[in-house]
């Protein structure tokens, strides 16, 4: 070789005579080979998930030639559909039908990259902030891509995509929807705007960013729940505890949890709408202050203290938010006005305990799609039998090796946590529709019963040795 193998951080690809120098993270002229962390890899190989690769998600290429010749242990490998390619029309056998032995049973995995015209994502955003009204349109690049759906405990929910946004709207709407879905599924950060609400940056497995503010923690519960959890720890240390929360603000002396412990009345009066004793709705407006409200000074939610109902000079009060992020300690003066004091050390553990019990706030992206269409014919000659077998749990469905939840009811409607799928597992076609790796796995016996493409079944070793119609290289990534 007369030319150097490297030029700075670029490395020479010798896969073909063009011999491109490929920069890190880039592909060569062919778009097929790339420089990944200083190693030339196929960008689209059939992907095997290898349990044996050490922690750290290292990706390494391997060919028949440089494989370490250890016998393949089926528990270590799972063939995934990433890079398998698709066959069109669908009645041709799927690109790879793999047979492998698991506990002596011949298993078959039908591997195909499936085109999902009917698909979307459900997004769970851990925040108590009001990010938009239920039913509000969610926009990406200015296009409507979904809506805000009913909230869950401590989380706001979005439903994005679906066939009406993908192909039912205009061209720009479909393109933006497809791009938003693909990027969310590939665990990228996506900026979404909610009509009449917030800008939210959503990235699977990462904290949400609401109006430029990163959410750190989910609240431990609403204010009332917090009282319920920690009332006994405050007993004897402080005369009154108010847990400030945008949903329900709790007051220990009035709350059932306090009453049970024999907590005495304090003559406190909380502004807002009383729900049941010690539980108040709407003490303030939603915002970025204490407990998801707009308040910065918690005393503003309190009215006058009533001496006839127990208010007295020297009465001590702890005010704390539902994440423990904000807290203050006060004492009533001679005129029954609360005055801020240094917090006694004895109360600090209880405040810290609130924070400790808060889960980190994250975004969850669940890919959901219908796999009951023509792609079934790639797996079997009798598609409905595959549907029934999946519904019966005899055939399992995975997306890039990640176990998919199959919805009960008709068809093959699946849902999968995208953080369980390998990186960059999702693609798109200009239809627009999302392309996702899809694997059906069953026993060889069941596969034959389903009318499977028996003659196309190959062993894992055979695929590793000879590859498929679209190339012969495979890579292993950590399972």
């Amino acid at each position: 070789m007369t030319e150097p193998l490297r030029q700075g951080d670029k490395i020479r690809c010798d896969a073909c005579p063009v011999m491109c120098y490929v920069a890190p993270g880039k592909t060569g002229a062919c778009d097929r080979y790339a420089n990944l962390d200083g190693v030339i890899i196929r960008t689209d190989p059939l992907t095997l998930l290898d349990n044996r690769i050490a922690e750290g998600g290292q990706i390494k290429p391997f060919l028949k030639a440089d494989w370490d010749n250890k016998p393949f242990n089926c528990d270590d490998f799972q063939v995934t559909a990433m890079g398998a390619g698709t066959t069109y029309p669908d009645y041709k056998p799927a690109p790879f039908i793999v047979s492998k032995k698991i506990d002596g049973i011949d298993f078959v995995t039908v591997v195909s990259e499936a085109i999902f015209s009917y698909c979307g994502v459900k997004v769970k955003i851990d925040t108590d902030r009001h990010i938009g009204d239920e039913g509000s349109t969610v926009r990406y690049q200015g296009e409507a891509v979904g809506l805000v759906i009913t909230g869950e405990y401590g989380s706001q929910m979005l439903s994005l995509g679906g066939v009406d946004h993908l192909t039912g709207g205009g061209k720009a709407e479909g393109k933006s929807t497809c791009e938003a879905l693909m990027r969310l599924c590939n665990k990228e950060a996506v900026e979404l705007f909610i009509d009449g609400g917030s800008k939210v940056v959503v990235q699977a497995g990462k904290p949400p960013i609401v109006d430029e503010k990163v959410e750190e923690r989910m609240r431990v519960g609403c204010g009332s729940a917090t009282i319920g959890m920690f009332a006994s720890q405050w007993k004897g240390l402080v005369d009154e505890v108010v847990v400030v929360d945008d949903h329900i603000t709790g007051v220990v002396s009035e709350h059932q949890a306090g009453k049970v412990l024999g907590w005495e009345d304090t003559g406190i009066r909380v502004k807002g709408r009383r729900s049941t004793p010690g539980r108040y709705f709407e003490v303030a407006e939603p915002g970025l202050g204490w407990g998801g409200t707009n308040i910065e000074d918690p005393l503003t939610i309190l009215g006058d203290w009533n001496p006839k109902k127990g208010a007295r000079p020297g009465l001590s009060i702890l005010m704390v938010s539902t994440t423990g992020d904000q807290y203050g300690y006060y004492m009533l003066d001679e005129d029954l006005v609360p005055r801020k004091q240094a917090m006694p050390d004895t109360l600090i553990p209880s405040v810290e305990l609130i924070g400790e019990n808060c889960e980190p706030a994250l975004c969850t992206v669940m890919f959901m799609g219908g796999a009951g269409g023509s792609l079934r014919s790639g797996a079997t000659n009798n598609p409905v039998r595959l549907t029934r077998s999946v519904q019966a749990g005899t055939t399992t469905v995975t997306v890039g090796g990640a176990q998919a939840y199959v919805w009960p009811g008709g068809g093959i409607t699946i849902m999968v946590d995208v953080t369980a799928t390998p990186d960059m597992a999702f693609g798109y076609v200009p239809t627009p529709a999302i392309v996702a790796p899809l694997e059906f796995t069953t026993t060889l016996e069941e596969y034959e019963r389903l009318g499977g493409h028996r003659t196309s079944v190959r062993t894992l070793d055979d695929i590793l040795a000879k590859g498929g119609e679209y190339g012969s290289n495979v890579r292993a990534i950590q399972k």
Binding site: C16, V18, C20, K26, A29, R32
Partner: protein, 266 residues
């Protein structure tokens, strides 16, 4: 290093692959299989021939060194006519490869054949034969090339394609005498469809995306944001003027330019 690969697809067409090149070839007539054999033989050393003089092929034609390989020479000839515009012979590489393989394939007993190099197509027609091509766009359309028509090359270029473009056209499809000529013209017309300095257009130096790019530090399009209809038409008009000049000079036979759902035909 991998050798050139030749495989027949299940529908009988021939697929030739080597490095960045993928050709889909179909021939009809009693001489088809002999033709396929000639095509494979011609294809085998082709990429190595080009790779041997890649630095010259990646140099601006206005001050490029002499090129020796036959395919390289047809690439240079196809772009030569556009001087003094900046263009390198690489603008015609896909078409020129298709032309070379088709030229080898054509012979006795071949009624009709084509070589499709990733959308840049060259065709062979005997008397009475015609070739119908479909253009996939907002308004899907078909066109037919008959034996008596002058065009034998069809090429498409645009920033969304595999090669980098200086312009913002979604696609520019050109008919010309050879695929190399169509390829070069489509590349330059697609470069001309542009809105310089427009904030919606994202660009990056070509060398940042592909260090060996013949475009060097020139900014290539990496994204096109929202454009108004008048901006769309303004960009297309620049391309149309370019295409009209080429048509008047006899370099091309027809061109279809599309951007943002708008299509104009020259």
């Amino acid at each position: 290093m991998s050798e050139a690969q030749a495989t027949f697809l299940s529908d009988g067409r021939l697929h030739l692959h080597h490095g960045p090149i993928d050709l889909i070839i179909e021939a009809s007539g009693p001489g088809a299989s002999a033709g396929y054999e000639r095509a494979v033989r011609r294809f085998q050393p082709l990429l190595a021939e080009l790779a041997a003089e890649l630095p010259a092929l990646r140099t601006d034609i206005n001050h490029g060194p002499t090129i020796c390989s036959p395919v390289g020479r047809s690439m240079a000839a196809a772009v030569q006519v556009f001087q003094p515009t900046f263009v390198t012979p690489m603008a015609a590489v896909a078409g020129a490869v298709a032309d070379a393989v088709l030229a080898a394939l054509v012979g006795k007993g071949i009624k009709k054949a084509y070589v499709n190099n990733g959308g840049d197509v060259t065709i062979h027609l005997t008397r009475g034969e015609s070739f119908t091509a479909a253009v996939v766009s907002e308004q899907p359309s078909r066109f037919k090339i008959r034996h008596e028509d002058p065009s034998r090359g069809i090429a498409t270029s645009g920033w969304r394609g595999r090669s980098h473009s200086l312009g913002i056209a979604d696609a520019v499809t050109v008919l010309a005498t050879t695929a190399a000529e169509a390829d070069a013209a489509a590349t330059l017309i697609a470069n001309a469809v542009n809105l310089p300095g427009h904030p919606s257009v994202q660009r990056k130096p070509a060398s940042e995306l592909y260090p060996d790019s013949d475009l060097g530090q020139r900014l290539v399009t990496t994204g096109v944001g929202p454009l108004t209809i008048s901006e769309t038409l303004e960009a297309l008009e620049r391309g149309r003027q370019n295409a009209s000049t080429m048509l008047a000079n006899g370099f091309i036979h027809a061109a279809a330019l599309s951007l943002n759902g708008e299509l104009i035909v020259v």
